[in-house]
């Protein structure tokens, strides 16, 4: 669906008024569309020979990562650079936290340097909220514990929109460790707000029953999740889950819920295979499927850049996209 991406002016009616992006739960459908439309404009720029715009010139973006994540950090870093911002990457090891310096101590030190935007990744839910309550900078959540990972869901929505032309009315199945997944939560908010029918699937130990109250269908049978799906979104299954007695073994999980060619054969033709990465090849996703024709996993990475440019741009409060990109 390349048509909207070639016209530079976003069509959403909402104006962006937020200083932070902490999650998709609190956003309206219009606000999500505004981000996606803004991302479409930036996506177009990334196809030009000169990929840089001066939108955030003179601003400083800090990637404050309390949890290592090369791919998310690189994506944000490149996004900020393409917007001409100065970028600082700060990786905080758990050990320095143990020395008694709190999250807020770290943030106060950054604030003393007058940074404009802080992109936060932390293993604990709610840390971006904690920082937003105490900081003057704009805060972008780059993943907090099992809570939210809004830019991941936005890039997923963007990719679905790009590949299938719409989100409304589509059947999207999210399969795997729903309970511990920030990607699942953000996608659930984003996709349902945009009108998709979301199914979550996994063993009962990994799918909190209360999730049904959020307007999604719950199934524990992989066949039910595959049959009608337009999109299959697979989540990484962590080896810790076995230790926590949530699954008997990783092998048992693969046999019951892993997507291989045989299972994929029962899906609709043209189904999209998505994964937030990094993939456990041969666990939740067979290699042949991950690298197969239905997989849009690398498009997700490409689109992540445009989405993160849009987010950094919008929270910065810089002038309208159209004027800037003209």
């Amino acid at each position: 669906m390349p048509s909207t991406a070639t016209t530079s002016r976003p069509t959403a009616t909402a104006a962006w008024t937020r200083r932070h992006l902490l999650g998709l739960r609190e956003l309206s459908a219009d606000e999500i569309r505004l981000i996606l439309n803004t991302a479409a404009s930036f996506r177009e720029i990334s196809l030009r020979p000169i990929k840089k715009v001066p939108a955030l010139r003179g601003q400083t973006v800090v990637n404050l990562f309390f949890e290592p994540s090369t791919r998310t950090r690189t994506s944000f870093e490149l996004a900020a650079k393409r917007l001409s911002a100065d970028v600082m990457n700060i990786a905080i090891q758990a050990s320095s936290v143990a020395k008694g310096e709190t999250v807020l101590d770290t943030v106060r030190n950054l604030e003393a340097l007058k940074v404009d935007t802080i992109v936060v990744r932390h293993a604990a839910a709610g840390v971006p909220h904690l920082i937003a309550r105490h900081a003057n900078a704009s805060i972008v959540n780059a993943g907090d514990g099992a809570h939210e990972h809004p830019t991941q869901a936005l890039l997923d929505c963007f990719t679905i929109q790009e590949k299938l032309g719409r989100i409304e009315g589509l059947n999207v199945s999210i399969i795997g460790d729903i309970g511990h997944s920030r990607v699942a939560r953000s996608n659930l908010w984003g996709l349902t707000k945009l009108g998709a029918r979301v199914t979550v699937c996994g063993p009962p130990t990994l799918v909190p029953p209360t999730i049904a109250q959020l307007g999604v269908r719950v199934t524990h049978r992989i066949e039910d999740a595959i049959r009608e799906a337009d999109v299959l979104m697979l989540l990484r299954i962590q080896h810790e889950r076995q230790e926590a007695k949530l699954v008997p073994s990783i092998r048992e999980y693969r046999l019951r819920y892993g997507i291989d060619r045989e299972r994929l054969a029962r899906a609709k033709s043209g189904v999209l295979i998505m994964h937030p990465g990094p993939i456990n090849r041969g666990v939740e996703l067979d290699s042949s499927v991950a690298d197969g024709p239905y997989s849009v996993i690398l498009d997700q990475v490409t689109n992540g850049l445009a989405v993160r440019m849009a987010v950094l741009y919008l929270v910065s409060g810089a002038p309208e996209v159209s004027e800037e990109l003209g």
Binding site: T102, G145, L214
Partner: protein, 429 residues
Amino acid sequence: MGKVLITGGRVIDPSTNRDGVFDILIERGKIADIQPNIPANGAKPLDARGRLVVPGFIDLHTHLRQPGREDSETLETGLRAAARGGFTAVCAMPNTEPAIDTRGVADFIHQEGQRLGLVAVRAVGAVTKGRQGAELTDFGELFDAGCVALSDDGSPVMDGLLMRRALEYARVFERPIIQHAEDLTLSAGGVAHEGLLSMTLGLPGIPAEAESVMVARDLALAELTSGWLHLAHLSSARSVELVRQAKRRGVHVTCEVTPHHLALTHEAIEGFNTDAKVNPPLRAEQDRLALIEGLRDGTIDCIATDHAPHADWEKDAEFAAAPFGIAGLETALGVCVRTLLEPNHLTWPQLIEKLSVKPAAIANLPGGTLKPGSEANLTLIDPDVSWTVDPQRFLSKCRRSPFVGWTLRGRVTHTIVKGGVVYSGDAES
């Protein structure tokens, strides 16, 4: 100490079924007389017109943090907060550093309390050495030192056999084992009530069953041993029902509930609000209503604060890493008025019974009554004045309360311990 004459107040003493306007004469630290219109005869007058005069509140569950965490609270700041809350005695929980597991630590608490001369403080000793859940403390030594009960609060006694022995052995002293009922294998590192909100926020949940499973086990052990089980801070509907049935069977069990569990649900943690992070966690509305009903029908014996002070820097942290606990002493009365009296769940005499008479009986402390001859421990309340909760003005070192900004009705104007005024609201404004 001279004579004091408290005049013209509405005296509510559930222990003697008294409710009416009386004067109270205090002499040598004791209640000397209660009559309408007692002549002053040189006694210092204290005008209580428009006020309630009640037996002083007694808190069965206070964390004072000393020794060990004097940066969070000291006996002095905690007892000043207690005085302002209308408490004339508090029971200090043993999860100090070191724990109150030997006579020496209990003696320190009691001597320091005496020296301060504020609110009376009595220690709750630990059930196990270092609260490690492995070896019983020397119960007799701790009770000889004046401990009113034993508890490993902060942690439960997980080992079933050890709990059985504790309940059995404590029978010698006719004192309760206070259990913080939590099956740690089920709470499993959870930080909030397991429900829709914890799921939405991505926080590991603590199911209500982590409590009720332990309550069921301990009720069975209390029945087996004929020991006295006191359950701390009940939070779930199922637990209340289990206690109700056990009491019907004649099991020797008493229990308490906190003002915050009566007033709030888990919705209070919305936005990762660590000021509502307590253990057991705030639960669902049906649990809250069951707690109120339990209090009403006598299943729950009393109200205790679980005042659990923490420093700001500890609470201004990741939700999962922030410690459980909030300041509770200075808001207890106002929150109870709002939660229990205004909706007509309880009357004033019933509330005073839950805040004073019952806890005095459970802790076997002087107080809980205004009977002539008893220790003059009283609280004077202005039942009509409204005030707004501003934790920055707390006397406790802890500034963290889920009730920040709430407008509450009813405030303590005087707290009197052994005839001496340890808190007077007049000094404040």
